[in-house]
């Protein structure tokens, strides 16, 4: 098995379109990845053949829907090295963080307590904790980010204190591509008896993750950033912790029995899945996992490393371009600024060249502030990108320089 990028590209219908008559260079996979035909087909097949509400009917169709939904859960659990009971379906990473903040957080965080984050968190791993802190009279403590876009373990050693109740850290920075040493961070936190939530949204599309090996108490990710559908994601939690957590949303499926005197709640994972779930989304995410497992992952990772090195080199051609985030070993995400041109204007000009990039603060405003920029342009790569996409980006940036010399 070897990695053949052209064969991979042919499986993504979106990539064959020609915006403004130009070849599409899709360099915004950090926002959402495109979907392979296998995922699109799995979702459509579910609705065409297996659709009915899960966990409810006694008829054959309902049995098939439930089997497909639970089959997806098992598949995802196996893929990340977890027990299926530890895989809770959510709408995405954001909902996963909110669930933990509102259940585990509300029962373990009190006045004067601390929640430790890093300076490179996405808003979705800041705001839920800030809301919890405001409610409880707790405070956020922030691990600083250095000039290359890295955090240091010594700062975790220093900042995890007797009042720390949770460490919430991203595995991969969405804005910079930095890969954090989450396994070591977990070890340091656990040595002090502090649980860790890892935001895996940006890690999952780039690397194989084993949650047992990582040993984080909570691991959250989104389907749509790893070639699956939007609207579905996963919260992985250690069974012992999940079992002790109070429920979050109330409703159907999360109960054993209900009376007006009181309700007995269901076991995990169902206790945290109130209401009809996005079954088709779960099936689609299961298909994305199958698709990823059918690839030569090492080959794909080598291909992404090559793209990062090639793009980093070629971007040096552009006068006044500065890359923000230069941590060694980062994934293929390049944030940059151009002197004298706002990222938004860069984005519009690149768009007309068929190049799709993100321009803005990337939902990481504190990080932008850290680097003294209001916004950056971000080219984020996935395994389906090629050197041709990089060349097209560089051509577009020359065009930007013609208009904004």
């Amino acid at each position: 098995m070897s990695f053949d990028v052209e064969a991979v590209r042919r499986q993504f219908p979106v990539l064959s379109q020609r915006p403004y008559g130009k070849r599409l260079a899709f360099l915004d996979s950090g926002a959402t990845t495109q979907k392979p035909q296998a995922v699109i087909d799995a979702v459509s097949r579910f609705y065409a053949q297996d659709n009915s509400n899960v966990h409810r009917g006694v008829y054959d169709l309902a049995e098939r829907a439930t089997a497909a939904f639970e089959g997806a859960r098992k598949k995802i659990a196996r893929y990340i090295g977890a027990d299926p009971r530890e895989v809770i379906f959510t709408r995405g990473t954001t909902e996963g963080v909110n669930l933990v903040a509102q259940t585990y957080g509300r029962t373990h965080v009190g006045p004067g307590d601390e929640i430790l984050l890093t300076g490179m968190e996405h808003h979705s791993n800041i705001v839920p904790w800030q809301m919890l802190a405001a409610e409880k009279g707790a405070r956020l403590v922030v691990v600083p980010v250095d000039d290359r876009g890295e955090v240091h373990l010594a700062d975790f050693e220093r900042l995890i204190g007797p009042r720390t109740r949770m460490v919430a850290v991203t595995q991969v920075s969405n804005a910079l591509g930095t890969v954090n040493p989450v396994k070591e961070i977990v070890r340091i936190a656990h040595a002090r008896g502090v649980p860790v939530l890892v935001d895996g949204a940006q890690a999952m599309p780039h690397m194989k993750v084993d949650v047992r090996d990582l040993d984080a108490d909570f691991y959250v990710f989104s389907g749509h950033k790893m070639f699956g559908p939007t609207g579905i994601g996963v919260l992985h939690g250690k069974a012992k912790i999940l079992e002790a957590m109070p429920p979050w949303q109330g409703g159907g499926d999360m109960i054993l029995s209900v009376s007006f005197e009181g309700t007995r709640f269901n076991t995990i994972p169902y206790r945290f899945e109130a209401g009809t779930p996005d079954a088709a989304g779960a099936v689609g995410l299961g298909a994305a996992v199958d698709w990823l497992e059918g690839l030569d992952r090492e080959g794909a990772e080598a291909h992404e490393r090559d793209l990062l090195a090639y793009a980093t080199g070629r971007l040096q051609e552009i006068p006044g371009l500065r890359i923000i985030g230069t941590a060694p070993g980062k994934v293929a995400v390049i944030s940059f600024v151009l002197t004298g041109v706002h990222p938004h204007d860069v984005g519009t000009i690149l768009d007309r060249e068929g190049v799709a990039v993100r321009a803005g603060h990337h939902c990481a405003q504190p990080l932008m502030e850290r680097f003294g920029v209001p916004a950056t342009v971000r080219a984020s790569f996935a395994l389906y990108n090629t050197r041709e996409d990089v060349d097209q980006l560089v051509r577009g940036l020359h065009r930007v320089r013609e208009m904004f010399p």
Binding site: D345, D351, G360, H361, A375
Partner: protein, 148 residues
């Protein structure tokens, strides 16, 4: 299809690079903030009113060439205008840029160069941001203006 040069006209590039009235105003009688939460563009608009007349206009902040040029051109256009004239300009500008009514360009003087923005839906909010802030300042709103 409209071309990039329809959007990035020389006048716009010039105002984006060297914005006019780009300063704080310590003796402003009304100020408002304009914030685009999606991209982070952020401006403060300052007005000094002399009765019904806008004696001075200035702005400060951060954003793309389109938002900055639009704010700069707005500040130049509003100086010395009455409250009613400013309101009228706001409405005409809105019709030209947001609703794509090109006929409004005739009465807008230099602001007409922003006509091309209407063909770039993702950039309409950039061009309107400072205008919304100005409008809030004129009406004494304390909430930051957004284009959402």
């Amino acid at each position: 299809m409209s071309e990039l040069t329809d959007l990035y006209q020389e006048v716009i590039l010039d105002h984006g690079r060297k914005p006019r009235n780009f300063r704080a105003m310590p003796d402003a009688t009304a100020t408002a903030e304009g914030l685009n939460p999606l991209c982070g563009d952020h401006y403060h608009v300052f007005l000094r009113m002399d009765g019904d007349r806008i004696e001075d206009v200035s702005f400060q902040g951060n954003g793309c060439a389109i938002s900055k040029a639009s704010a700069s051109l707005m500040s130049a256009a509003l100086k010395g205008k009455s409250r009613a004239d400013a309101e009228d300009l706001f409405q005409r500008f809105h019709r030209m840029v947001v609703e794509g009514d090109a006929s409004q360009a005739d009465g807008l003087g230099k602001l007409a160069v922003l006509k091309g923005v209407a063909d770039f839906p993702t950039r309409v909010k950039c061009a309107s941001l400072a205008w919304h802030a100005m409008h809030s300042a004129l009406h004494g709103d304390s909430q930051p203006a957004t284009t959402e």
